[in-house]
Protein backbone atom coordinates (compact mmCIF):
# COMPACT_ATOMS: atom_id res chain seq x y z
CA UNK A 1 0.00 0.00 0.00
CA UNK A 2 1.20 3.45 -0.80
CA UNK A 3 -0.23 5.07 2.30
CA UNK A 4 0.75 3.90 5.71
CA UNK A 5 -2.50 3.48 7.53
CA UNK A 6 -3.31 3.06 11.13
CA UNK A 7 -6.02 0.55 11.48
CA UNK A 8 -7.27 0.46 14.98
CA UNK A 9 -9.86 -1.30 16.98
CA UNK A 10 -13.42 -0.42 16.45
CA UNK A 11 -14.42 2.97 17.75
CA UNK A 12 -11.06 4.43 18.57
CA UNK A 13 -8.58 6.07 16.34
CA UNK A 14 -5.14 7.47 16.74
CA UNK A 15 -4.75 11.10 17.57
CA UNK A 16 -3.89 12.78 14.36
CA UNK A 17 -2.64 16.10 13.27
CA UNK A 18 -5.62 18.14 12.18
CA UNK A 19 -5.17 20.20 9.06
CA UNK A 20 -4.88 23.81 10.03
CA UNK A 21 -7.02 26.56 8.58
CA UNK A 22 -9.88 25.96 6.19
CA UNK A 23 -13.40 26.34 7.38
CA UNK A 24 -13.42 23.23 9.49
CA UNK A 25 -14.52 23.53 13.05
CA UNK A 26 -12.06 21.78 15.31
CA UNK A 27 -13.58 19.52 17.88
CA UNK A 28 -11.86 19.35 21.21
CA UNK A 29 -10.85 15.72 20.95
CA UNK A 30 -9.29 14.16 17.92
CA UNK A 31 -11.24 10.90 18.09
CA UNK A 32 -13.35 11.22 14.97
CA UNK A 33 -15.80 8.77 13.47
CA UNK A 34 -15.75 10.29 10.01
CA UNK A 35 -13.08 12.55 8.72
CA UNK A 36 -13.56 14.15 5.33
CA UNK A 37 -10.96 16.28 3.60
CA UNK A 38 -11.23 18.10 0.31
CA UNK A 39 -13.91 16.02 -1.32
CA UNK A 40 -14.82 16.90 -4.88
CA UNK A 41 -17.71 15.23 -6.62
CA UNK A 42 -18.62 14.99 -10.26
CA UNK A 43 -21.58 13.83 -12.29
CA UNK A 44 -19.76 13.24 -15.55
CA UNK A 45 -18.05 16.52 -16.28
CA UNK A 46 -20.25 18.52 -13.93
CA UNK A 47 -18.67 19.30 -10.59
CA UNK A 48 -21.27 19.34 -7.83
CA UNK A 49 -19.16 19.33 -4.65
CA UNK A 50 -16.22 21.63 -4.22
CA UNK A 51 -13.55 20.67 -1.75
CA UNK A 52 -15.77 19.71 1.17
CA UNK A 53 -14.13 18.94 4.51
CA UNK A 54 -15.97 17.81 7.61
CA UNK A 55 -15.26 16.11 10.92
CA UNK A 56 -17.93 13.96 12.48
CA UNK A 57 -17.33 13.10 16.13
CA UNK A 58 -18.67 9.78 17.42
CA UNK A 59 -22.03 9.50 19.17
CA UNK A 60 -23.14 12.89 18.05
CA UNK A 61 -25.79 14.00 15.59
CA UNK A 62 -24.51 16.04 12.69
CA UNK A 63 -27.12 17.87 10.65
CA UNK A 64 -26.54 19.10 7.12
CA UNK A 65 -28.77 21.91 5.93
CA UNK A 66 -29.02 24.06 2.85
CA UNK A 67 -31.35 24.90 -0.02
CA UNK A 68 -32.35 22.07 -2.33
CA UNK A 69 -29.77 21.24 -4.96
CA UNK A 70 -26.93 22.47 -2.77
CA UNK A 71 -25.21 19.09 -2.69
CA UNK A 72 -26.03 17.97 0.85
CA UNK A 73 -27.66 14.72 -0.23
CA UNK A 74 -24.87 14.04 -2.70
CA UNK A 75 -22.37 14.55 0.08
CA UNK A 76 -24.27 12.14 2.34
CA UNK A 77 -24.13 9.54 -0.41
CA UNK A 78 -20.36 9.77 -0.62
CA UNK A 79 -20.14 8.59 3.00
CA UNK A 80 -21.45 5.10 2.10
CA UNK A 81 -20.71 5.36 -1.64
CA UNK A 82 -24.37 5.07 -2.59
CA UNK A 83 -23.57 7.47 -5.43
CA UNK A 84 -22.01 4.54 -7.25
CA UNK A 85 -25.42 3.44 -8.49
CA UNK A 86 -25.44 6.53 -10.72
CA UNK A 87 -23.44 6.08 -13.91
CA UNK A 88 -20.54 8.50 -14.40
CA UNK A 89 -20.67 9.74 -10.81
CA UNK A 90 -17.27 10.09 -9.22
CA UNK A 91 -15.90 11.23 -5.87
CA UNK A 92 -12.38 12.37 -5.19
CA UNK A 93 -10.73 13.25 -1.95
CA UNK A 94 -9.94 11.83 1.43
CA UNK A 95 -12.85 10.18 3.22
CA UNK A 96 -12.11 8.18 6.31
CA UNK A 97 -14.17 6.01 8.59
CA UNK A 98 -12.17 5.35 11.76
CA UNK A 99 -9.12 6.26 9.72
CA UNK A 100 -9.87 3.71 7.01
CA UNK A 101 -10.15 4.97 3.47
CA UNK A 102 -13.80 4.88 2.46
CA UNK A 103 -13.14 5.10 -1.27
CA UNK A 104 -10.98 1.99 -1.39
CA UNK A 105 -12.82 -0.09 1.20
CA UNK A 106 -14.83 -3.08 0.09
CA UNK A 107 -18.15 -1.40 -0.58
CA UNK A 108 -20.45 -3.97 1.01
CA UNK A 109 -18.33 -3.94 4.18
CA UNK A 110 -18.52 -0.16 4.18
CA UNK A 111 -22.29 -0.12 3.86
CA UNK A 112 -22.64 -2.64 6.66
CA UNK A 113 -20.80 -0.21 8.90
CA UNK A 114 -22.50 2.90 7.55
CA UNK A 115 -26.26 2.34 7.39
CA UNK A 116 -28.75 4.57 5.65
CA UNK A 117 -32.42 5.51 5.63
CA UNK A 118 -33.94 7.38 2.72
CA UNK A 119 -36.26 10.26 1.99
CA UNK A 120 -39.23 8.02 1.36
CA UNK A 121 -39.71 4.84 3.32
CA UNK A 122 -38.66 1.95 1.09
CA UNK A 123 -39.58 -1.30 2.79
CA UNK A 124 -39.15 -4.41 0.66
CA UNK A 125 -42.31 -6.19 -0.49
CA UNK A 126 -41.76 -8.78 2.24
CA UNK A 127 -42.96 -9.35 5.79
CA UNK A 128 -41.87 -7.05 8.61
CA UNK A 129 -39.66 -9.81 9.97
CA UNK A 130 -37.99 -10.47 6.63
CA UNK A 131 -37.39 -6.77 6.13
CA UNK A 132 -35.46 -6.48 9.38
CA UNK A 133 -33.66 -9.77 8.90
CA UNK A 134 -32.63 -8.85 5.34
CA UNK A 135 -29.32 -7.18 6.20
CA UNK A 136 -28.35 -10.04 8.52
CA UNK A 137 -29.23 -12.69 5.98
CA UNK A 138 -27.27 -11.20 3.11
CA UNK A 139 -24.21 -10.68 5.25
CA UNK A 140 -23.90 -14.06 6.89
CA UNK A 141 -25.97 -16.99 7.93
CA UNK A 142 -27.72 -16.90 11.25
CA UNK A 143 -29.70 -19.41 13.21
CA UNK A 144 -33.44 -18.92 13.41
CA UNK A 145 -33.25 -18.02 17.07
CA UNK A 146 -30.44 -15.53 16.57
CA UNK A 147 -32.41 -13.85 13.78
CA UNK A 148 -35.54 -13.61 15.89
CA UNK A 149 -33.55 -12.09 18.70
CA UNK A 150 -31.85 -9.58 16.42
CA UNK A 151 -35.15 -8.60 14.83
CA UNK A 152 -36.74 -8.00 18.20
CA UNK A 153 -33.72 -6.02 19.35
CA UNK A 154 -33.72 -3.77 16.27
CA UNK A 155 -37.44 -3.15 16.45
CA UNK A 156 -37.11 -2.20 20.10
CA UNK A 157 -34.25 0.18 19.35
CA UNK A 158 -36.40 1.79 16.67
CA UNK A 159 -39.32 2.00 19.15
CA UNK A 160 -41.52 -0.03 16.82
CA UNK A 161 -41.66 -3.34 18.69
CA UNK A 162 -44.82 -2.66 20.67
CA UNK A 163 -46.69 -1.64 17.55
CA UNK A 164 -45.75 -4.59 15.37
CA UNK A 165 -44.87 -7.49 17.66
CA UNK A 166 -48.13 -9.27 16.82
CA UNK A 167 -47.88 -8.80 13.08
CA UNK A 168 -44.24 -9.63 12.34
CA UNK A 169 -45.23 -11.89 9.47
CA UNK A 170 -47.57 -9.46 7.80
CA UNK A 171 -46.51 -7.39 4.81
CA UNK A 172 -44.51 -4.30 5.65
CA UNK A 173 -46.77 -2.39 3.26
CA UNK A 174 -49.61 -2.65 5.77
CA UNK A 175 -47.84 -0.18 8.07
CA UNK A 176 -48.43 3.56 8.07
CA UNK A 177 -45.87 5.87 6.46
CA UNK A 178 -44.26 6.81 9.79
CA UNK A 179 -44.12 3.19 10.88
CA UNK A 180 -42.60 2.24 7.55
CA UNK A 181 -39.87 4.82 8.03
CA UNK A 182 -39.10 3.54 11.52
CA UNK A 183 -39.10 0.03 10.06
CA UNK A 184 -36.49 1.17 7.54
CA UNK A 185 -34.40 2.64 10.37
CA UNK A 186 -34.79 -0.60 12.33
CA UNK A 187 -33.75 -2.51 9.22
CA UNK A 188 -30.59 -0.42 9.00
CA UNK A 189 -29.95 -0.87 12.75
CA UNK A 190 -30.20 -4.65 12.57
CA UNK A 191 -26.66 -4.98 11.20
CA UNK A 192 -25.33 -2.79 14.02
CA UNK A 193 -23.92 0.04 11.94
CA UNK A 194 -21.40 2.42 13.47
CA UNK A 195 -22.80 5.34 11.52
CA UNK A 196 -26.39 5.97 10.47
CA UNK A 197 -27.04 8.28 7.52
CA UNK A 198 -30.50 9.81 7.23
CA UNK A 199 -31.50 11.54 4.00
CA UNK A 200 -34.41 13.83 4.88
CA UNK A 201 -36.09 10.96 6.73
CA UNK A 202 -39.14 12.99 7.73
CA UNK A 203 -39.93 14.81 4.51
CA UNK A 204 -42.77 12.40 3.66
CA UNK A 205 -44.15 12.23 7.20
CA UNK A 206 -46.72 14.11 9.26
CA UNK A 207 -45.67 16.07 12.39
CA UNK A 208 -46.55 13.29 14.85
CA UNK A 209 -44.55 10.67 12.97
CA UNK A 210 -41.72 13.20 12.64
CA UNK A 211 -41.67 13.77 16.40
CA UNK A 212 -41.39 10.03 16.99
CA UNK A 213 -38.40 9.78 14.69
CA UNK A 214 -36.71 12.73 16.36
CA UNK A 215 -37.18 11.11 19.78
CA UNK A 216 -35.68 7.99 18.35
CA UNK A 217 -32.57 9.84 17.19
CA UNK A 218 -31.79 11.04 20.72
CA UNK A 219 -31.81 7.48 21.99
CA UNK A 220 -29.86 6.10 19.06
CA UNK A 221 -26.94 8.44 19.36
CA UNK A 222 -25.75 6.57 22.43
CA UNK A 223 -24.99 3.60 20.23
CA UNK A 224 -24.12 5.13 16.89
CA UNK A 225 -23.08 8.25 15.09
CA UNK A 226 -25.75 9.98 13.07
CA UNK A 227 -25.53 12.25 10.07
CA UNK A 228 -28.88 13.69 8.99
CA UNK A 229 -29.69 15.75 5.94
CA UNK A 230 -32.72 17.96 6.37
CA UNK A 231 -34.24 20.99 4.75
CA UNK A 232 -36.15 21.67 7.93
CA UNK A 233 -34.05 24.05 9.99
CA UNK A 234 -36.13 23.65 13.11
CA UNK A 235 -35.44 19.96 12.95
CA UNK A 236 -31.70 20.55 12.65
CA UNK A 237 -31.84 22.93 15.61
CA UNK A 238 -33.88 20.47 17.71
CA UNK A 239 -31.92 17.29 17.19
CA UNK A 240 -28.35 17.97 16.18
CA UNK A 241 -25.12 18.60 18.06
CA UNK A 242 -23.32 20.17 15.15
CA UNK A 243 -24.67 21.63 11.93
CA UNK A 244 -23.12 22.18 8.53
CA UNK A 245 -24.51 24.62 5.96
CA UNK A 246 -24.19 23.77 2.27
CA UNK A 247 -24.57 26.25 -0.54
CA UNK A 248 -23.89 25.66 -4.24
CA UNK A 249 -21.81 22.56 -3.63
CA UNK A 250 -19.68 24.05 -0.89
CA UNK A 251 -19.79 23.42 2.84
CA UNK A 252 -19.80 27.08 3.80
CA UNK A 253 -19.83 26.75 7.53
CA UNK A 254 -19.88 24.08 10.17
CA UNK A 255 -20.05 24.56 13.89
CA UNK A 256 -21.93 23.39 16.92
CA UNK A 257 -25.62 23.78 16.38
CA UNK A 258 -26.22 26.47 18.93
CA UNK A 259 -23.54 28.69 17.46
CA UNK A 260 -24.76 28.20 13.92
CA UNK A 261 -28.28 29.20 14.80
CA UNK A 262 -27.39 31.98 17.23
CA UNK A 263 -24.28 33.53 15.75
CA UNK A 264 -23.46 32.24 12.29
CA UNK A 265 -20.10 33.37 11.04
CA UNK A 266 -21.16 33.84 7.43
CA UNK A 267 -23.67 36.22 5.99
CA UNK A 268 -25.11 33.51 3.66
CA UNK A 269 -25.77 31.18 6.60
CA UNK A 270 -27.58 33.91 8.45
CA UNK A 271 -29.65 34.76 5.39
CA UNK A 272 -30.65 31.15 4.95
CA UNK A 273 -31.48 30.56 8.59
CA UNK A 274 -33.54 33.71 8.88
CA UNK A 275 -35.37 32.70 5.74
CA UNK A 276 -34.19 35.49 3.50
CA UNK A 277 -33.69 32.98 0.72
CA UNK A 278 -33.86 29.29 0.03
Amino acid sequence: MATPKLILMNGTSAPQAQPAGGNVAQPATAALKLRVRDVNFYYGAKKVLHSVSLDVPPNKITALIGPSGCGKSTFLRTLNRMYETVPHARAEGDLRLDDEDILTMEVTALRRRVGMAFQRPNPFPKSIFDNIAYGLRVNSSHSRAALAEAVEGSLKRAALWDEVKDSLHKSAYALSGGQQQRLCIARALAVNPEVLLLDEPCSALDPIATAKIEELLFVLKDSCTIVIVTHNMQQAARVSDQTGFFLLGKLLEVNDTRTIFKKPARKETEDYITGRFG
Partner: protein, 284 residues
Protein backbone atom coordinates in the same frame (compact mmCIF):
# COMPACT_ATOMS: atom_id res chain seq x y z
CA UNK B 1 -73.60 29.01 -41.74
CA UNK B 2 -71.80 29.08 -45.03
CA UNK B 3 -71.71 26.20 -47.47
CA UNK B 4 -68.04 25.71 -46.68
CA UNK B 5 -68.76 25.23 -42.99
CA UNK B 6 -71.48 22.72 -43.71
CA UNK B 7 -69.07 20.86 -45.98
CA UNK B 8 -66.36 20.83 -43.32
CA UNK B 9 -68.78 19.62 -40.67
CA UNK B 10 -69.98 16.84 -42.97
CA UNK B 11 -66.43 15.73 -43.73
CA UNK B 12 -65.79 15.66 -40.01
CA UNK B 13 -68.77 13.40 -39.38
CA UNK B 14 -68.25 11.15 -42.38
CA UNK B 15 -64.54 10.57 -41.80
CA UNK B 16 -64.92 9.79 -38.12
CA UNK B 17 -67.81 7.45 -38.92
CA UNK B 18 -65.50 5.64 -41.33
CA UNK B 19 -62.82 5.27 -38.67
CA UNK B 20 -65.49 3.93 -36.32
CA UNK B 21 -66.53 1.46 -38.99
CA UNK B 22 -62.89 0.36 -39.43
CA UNK B 23 -62.67 -0.24 -35.69
CA UNK B 24 -65.91 -2.19 -35.66
CA UNK B 25 -64.76 -4.36 -38.56
CA UNK B 26 -61.40 -5.11 -37.00
CA UNK B 27 -62.73 -5.87 -33.54
CA UNK B 28 -65.55 -8.03 -34.88
CA UNK B 29 -63.02 -10.36 -36.55
CA UNK B 30 -62.17 -11.85 -33.16
CA UNK B 31 -65.82 -12.60 -32.49
CA UNK B 32 -66.29 -14.08 -35.95
CA UNK B 33 -63.32 -16.39 -35.39
CA UNK B 34 -64.55 -17.42 -31.97
CA UNK B 35 -68.08 -17.89 -33.25
CA UNK B 36 -67.10 -20.10 -36.17
CA UNK B 37 -64.79 -22.23 -34.05
CA UNK B 38 -67.47 -22.79 -31.44
CA UNK B 39 -70.12 -23.42 -34.11
CA UNK B 40 -68.17 -25.97 -36.12
CA UNK B 41 -65.83 -27.35 -33.47
CA UNK B 42 -67.77 -27.12 -30.22
CA UNK B 43 -69.76 -30.30 -30.78
CA UNK B 44 -66.62 -32.34 -31.49
CA UNK B 45 -64.83 -31.34 -28.31
CA UNK B 46 -65.58 -34.31 -26.14
CA UNK B 47 -63.90 -36.41 -23.49
CA UNK B 48 -62.58 -38.67 -26.25
CA UNK B 49 -60.96 -35.72 -27.96
CA UNK B 50 -58.65 -35.25 -24.99
CA UNK B 51 -58.02 -38.89 -24.16
CA UNK B 52 -58.03 -40.97 -27.38
CA UNK B 53 -55.50 -41.38 -30.14
CA UNK B 54 -56.47 -40.43 -33.70
CA UNK B 55 -58.33 -43.16 -35.56
CA UNK B 56 -57.69 -44.20 -39.18
CA UNK B 57 -59.80 -42.61 -41.88
CA UNK B 58 -63.36 -43.83 -41.88
CA UNK B 59 -63.38 -45.02 -38.28
CA UNK B 60 -65.53 -42.84 -36.08
CA UNK B 61 -64.39 -41.45 -32.76
CA UNK B 62 -60.80 -40.90 -31.86
CA UNK B 63 -59.17 -37.81 -30.47
CA UNK B 64 -55.99 -35.85 -30.36
CA UNK B 65 -54.55 -36.85 -27.00
CA UNK B 66 -51.11 -37.42 -28.50
CA UNK B 67 -51.10 -33.99 -30.14
CA UNK B 68 -52.16 -32.25 -26.94
CA UNK B 69 -49.50 -34.02 -24.89
CA UNK B 70 -47.03 -33.47 -27.74
CA UNK B 71 -47.65 -29.73 -27.78
CA UNK B 72 -47.19 -29.70 -24.01
CA UNK B 73 -43.89 -31.56 -24.26
CA UNK B 74 -42.62 -29.32 -27.06
CA UNK B 75 -43.50 -26.22 -25.05
CA UNK B 76 -41.92 -27.61 -21.90
CA UNK B 77 -38.62 -28.40 -23.56
CA UNK B 78 -38.67 -25.10 -25.45
CA UNK B 79 -39.20 -23.28 -22.16
CA UNK B 80 -36.38 -25.21 -20.51
CA UNK B 81 -34.00 -24.14 -23.28
CA UNK B 82 -35.26 -20.66 -24.08
CA UNK B 83 -36.50 -19.17 -20.81
CA UNK B 84 -33.19 -19.28 -18.88
CA UNK B 85 -31.38 -17.59 -21.77
CA UNK B 86 -33.99 -14.86 -22.06
CA UNK B 87 -34.31 -14.43 -18.32
CA UNK B 88 -30.61 -14.11 -17.53
CA UNK B 89 -29.99 -12.01 -20.62
CA UNK B 90 -32.84 -9.73 -19.52
CA UNK B 91 -31.32 -9.47 -16.05
CA UNK B 92 -28.05 -8.46 -17.67
CA UNK B 93 -29.73 -5.73 -19.73
CA UNK B 94 -31.63 -4.37 -16.73
CA UNK B 95 -28.88 -4.58 -14.13
CA UNK B 96 -25.43 -4.65 -15.61
CA UNK B 97 -25.91 -3.53 -19.16
CA UNK B 98 -24.86 -0.04 -20.02
CA UNK B 99 -23.42 1.40 -23.14
CA UNK B 100 -23.26 0.21 -26.71
CA UNK B 101 -23.09 -3.53 -26.08
CA UNK B 102 -26.49 -3.66 -24.40
CA UNK B 103 -28.06 -1.39 -27.02
CA UNK B 104 -26.71 -3.80 -29.54
CA UNK B 105 -28.13 -6.85 -27.74
CA UNK B 106 -31.49 -5.11 -27.36
CA UNK B 107 -31.66 -4.24 -31.04
CA UNK B 108 -30.59 -7.75 -32.06
CA UNK B 109 -33.33 -9.20 -29.85
CA UNK B 110 -35.91 -6.96 -31.49
CA UNK B 111 -34.74 -8.03 -34.93
CA UNK B 112 -34.73 -11.69 -33.92
CA UNK B 113 -38.29 -11.19 -32.69
CA UNK B 114 -39.26 -10.05 -36.17
CA UNK B 115 -37.69 -12.98 -38.01
CA UNK B 116 -40.46 -15.13 -39.57
CA UNK B 117 -41.10 -18.27 -37.55
CA UNK B 118 -40.48 -20.46 -40.57
CA UNK B 119 -36.90 -19.21 -40.70
CA UNK B 120 -36.48 -20.32 -37.08
CA UNK B 121 -37.75 -23.68 -38.25
CA UNK B 122 -35.05 -23.80 -40.92
CA UNK B 123 -32.48 -22.99 -38.24
CA UNK B 124 -33.55 -26.00 -36.15
CA UNK B 125 -33.76 -28.06 -39.32
CA UNK B 126 -30.13 -27.41 -40.27
CA UNK B 127 -28.85 -27.91 -36.72
CA UNK B 128 -30.84 -30.95 -35.59
CA UNK B 129 -32.82 -32.54 -38.41
CA UNK B 130 -30.08 -32.69 -41.06
CA UNK B 131 -27.53 -34.46 -38.83
CA UNK B 132 -30.17 -36.86 -37.45
CA UNK B 133 -31.86 -37.42 -40.83
CA UNK B 134 -35.34 -37.25 -39.29
CA UNK B 135 -37.57 -34.88 -37.39
CA UNK B 136 -37.70 -34.94 -33.61
CA UNK B 137 -39.25 -33.32 -30.58
CA UNK B 138 -35.85 -31.84 -29.84
CA UNK B 139 -35.72 -30.06 -33.20
CA UNK B 140 -39.24 -28.66 -32.79
CA UNK B 141 -38.47 -27.46 -29.27
CA UNK B 142 -35.29 -25.79 -30.43
CA UNK B 143 -37.19 -23.81 -33.07
CA UNK B 144 -39.74 -22.68 -30.48
CA UNK B 145 -37.00 -21.94 -27.92
CA UNK B 146 -35.20 -19.59 -30.30
CA UNK B 147 -38.49 -17.73 -30.70
CA UNK B 148 -38.96 -17.51 -26.93
CA UNK B 149 -35.57 -15.97 -26.21
CA UNK B 150 -36.07 -12.42 -27.53
CA UNK B 151 -39.61 -12.15 -26.11
CA UNK B 152 -38.62 -13.29 -22.62
CA UNK B 153 -35.48 -11.17 -22.72
CA UNK B 154 -37.27 -7.92 -23.48
CA UNK B 155 -40.17 -8.47 -21.10
CA UNK B 156 -37.86 -9.47 -18.24
CA UNK B 157 -35.79 -6.36 -18.76
CA UNK B 158 -38.87 -4.20 -18.88
CA UNK B 159 -40.39 -5.55 -15.67
CA UNK B 160 -37.12 -5.43 -13.77
CA UNK B 161 -36.70 -1.82 -14.73
CA UNK B 162 -40.18 -1.15 -13.40
CA UNK B 163 -39.08 -2.10 -9.87
CA UNK B 164 -38.65 1.18 -7.94
CA UNK B 165 -35.06 2.40 -7.55
CA UNK B 166 -35.72 2.94 -3.85
CA UNK B 167 -35.91 -0.82 -3.25
CA UNK B 168 -32.59 -1.34 -4.98
CA UNK B 169 -31.01 1.41 -2.89
CA UNK B 170 -32.51 0.00 0.29
CA UNK B 171 -30.84 -3.35 -0.28
CA UNK B 172 -27.50 -1.90 -1.38
CA UNK B 173 -27.42 0.40 1.64
CA UNK B 174 -27.68 -2.66 3.90
CA UNK B 175 -24.45 -4.02 2.47
CA UNK B 176 -26.04 -6.42 -0.01
CA UNK B 177 -23.91 -6.97 -3.08
CA UNK B 178 -25.38 -6.31 -6.48
CA UNK B 179 -26.33 -9.89 -7.25
CA UNK B 180 -27.79 -10.32 -3.77
CA UNK B 181 -29.91 -7.24 -4.43
CA UNK B 182 -31.04 -8.65 -7.76
CA UNK B 183 -31.74 -12.14 -6.46
CA UNK B 184 -33.40 -11.24 -3.16
CA UNK B 185 -35.20 -7.97 -3.85
CA UNK B 186 -35.54 -7.02 -7.50
CA UNK B 187 -36.46 -10.36 -9.04
CA UNK B 188 -39.00 -11.13 -6.26
CA UNK B 189 -40.48 -7.63 -6.56
CA UNK B 190 -40.76 -7.95 -10.33
CA UNK B 191 -41.70 -11.62 -10.21
CA UNK B 192 -45.31 -11.19 -11.20
CA UNK B 193 -44.40 -9.23 -14.31
CA UNK B 194 -41.55 -11.52 -15.28
CA UNK B 195 -43.70 -14.63 -14.89
CA UNK B 196 -46.51 -13.10 -16.92
CA UNK B 197 -44.04 -12.20 -19.65
CA UNK B 198 -42.94 -15.83 -19.81
CA UNK B 199 -46.55 -17.06 -19.91
CA UNK B 200 -47.38 -14.66 -22.74
CA UNK B 201 -44.36 -15.79 -24.71
CA UNK B 202 -45.42 -19.43 -24.28
CA UNK B 203 -48.94 -18.60 -25.43
CA UNK B 204 -47.47 -16.97 -28.48
CA UNK B 205 -45.34 -19.91 -29.57
CA UNK B 206 -47.96 -22.51 -28.60
CA UNK B 207 -49.82 -21.84 -31.84
CA UNK B 208 -46.78 -21.86 -34.08
CA UNK B 209 -47.14 -24.34 -36.89
CA UNK B 210 -44.72 -23.46 -39.67
CA UNK B 211 -41.48 -24.16 -37.77
CA UNK B 212 -42.84 -27.51 -36.52
CA UNK B 213 -43.91 -29.09 -39.81
CA UNK B 214 -40.41 -30.04 -40.91
CA UNK B 215 -38.76 -30.20 -37.48
CA UNK B 216 -41.08 -31.99 -35.05
CA UNK B 217 -42.80 -33.72 -37.95
CA UNK B 218 -45.98 -35.54 -37.13
CA UNK B 219 -46.93 -38.74 -35.43
CA UNK B 220 -50.25 -40.53 -35.19
CA UNK B 221 -49.20 -42.31 -32.02
CA UNK B 222 -47.50 -41.51 -28.77
CA UNK B 223 -43.98 -40.19 -29.29
CA UNK B 224 -41.28 -42.66 -28.32
CA UNK B 225 -38.68 -40.18 -27.11
CA UNK B 226 -37.21 -36.72 -27.48
CA UNK B 227 -35.28 -37.77 -30.57
CA UNK B 228 -38.38 -39.07 -32.35
CA UNK B 229 -41.02 -37.20 -34.35
CA UNK B 230 -43.86 -35.93 -32.22
CA UNK B 231 -47.40 -34.77 -32.89
CA UNK B 232 -48.50 -31.27 -32.01
CA UNK B 233 -51.89 -29.59 -32.00
CA UNK B 234 -51.13 -26.88 -34.62
CA UNK B 235 -49.60 -29.31 -37.11
CA UNK B 236 -52.52 -31.70 -36.55
CA UNK B 237 -54.97 -28.88 -37.32
CA UNK B 238 -53.09 -28.09 -40.51
CA UNK B 239 -52.98 -31.68 -41.73
CA UNK B 240 -56.60 -32.41 -40.83
CA UNK B 241 -57.92 -29.19 -42.34
CA UNK B 242 -56.23 -29.90 -45.68
CA UNK B 243 -57.38 -33.54 -45.74
CA UNK B 244 -60.33 -34.49 -47.94
CA UNK B 245 -62.32 -36.08 -45.10
CA UNK B 246 -65.36 -34.46 -43.60
CA UNK B 247 -64.71 -36.19 -40.29
CA UNK B 248 -61.17 -34.85 -40.05
CA UNK B 249 -62.39 -31.34 -40.82
CA UNK B 250 -64.62 -31.53 -37.76
CA UNK B 251 -61.63 -32.67 -35.70
CA UNK B 252 -59.59 -29.77 -37.06
CA UNK B 253 -62.28 -27.31 -35.99
CA UNK B 254 -62.36 -28.86 -32.54
CA UNK B 255 -58.59 -28.74 -32.22
CA UNK B 256 -58.62 -25.13 -33.38
CA UNK B 257 -61.13 -24.29 -30.69
CA UNK B 258 -59.03 -25.97 -28.00
CA UNK B 259 -55.85 -24.25 -29.18
CA UNK B 260 -57.46 -20.83 -29.41
CA UNK B 261 -59.11 -21.25 -26.02
CA UNK B 262 -55.72 -22.04 -24.50
CA UNK B 263 -54.04 -19.05 -26.12
CA UNK B 264 -56.83 -16.60 -25.25
CA UNK B 265 -57.17 -17.82 -21.67
CA UNK B 266 -53.44 -17.52 -21.00
CA UNK B 267 -53.26 -14.09 -22.66
CA UNK B 268 -56.30 -12.75 -20.82
CA UNK B 269 -55.18 -14.30 -17.54
CA UNK B 270 -51.78 -12.67 -17.80
CA UNK B 271 -53.38 -9.31 -18.52
CA UNK B 272 -55.60 -9.60 -15.47
CA UNK B 273 -52.70 -10.58 -13.23
CA UNK B 274 -50.72 -7.60 -14.50
CA UNK B 275 -53.55 -5.12 -14.22
CA UNK B 276 -53.87 -5.92 -10.53
CA UNK B 277 -50.75 -3.81 -10.45
CA UNK B 278 -47.53 -3.80 -8.57
CA UNK B 279 -47.59 -3.34 -4.86
CA UNK B 280 -45.90 -0.14 -3.94
CA UNK B 281 -44.96 1.31 -0.59
CA UNK B 282 -47.48 3.68 0.86
CA UNK B 283 -46.18 7.19 0.92
CA UNK B 284 -46.84 9.81 3.56
Amino acid sequence: MSFRDVWRKSVNIVMFSLTGLATLLTVSVLFFILGYLVWYGGSSVSWNFFTKLPTPVGEAGGGMANAIVGSGKLLLLAALIGVPVGLLGGIYLAEFGRGTFSHFVRYTADLLNGVPSIVMGIFAYTIVVLPMHHGSALAGSLALAVMLVPIVLRSTEQFMRAVPVSLREGALALGASKWQTVATVIVPAGFRGIATGILLSLARVAGETAPLIFTAGGNNFWAQGWNQPIASLPVMIYNYALSPYEDWHRQAWAAGLVLLAFVLIVTTGSRIILSLGFQSPRSG
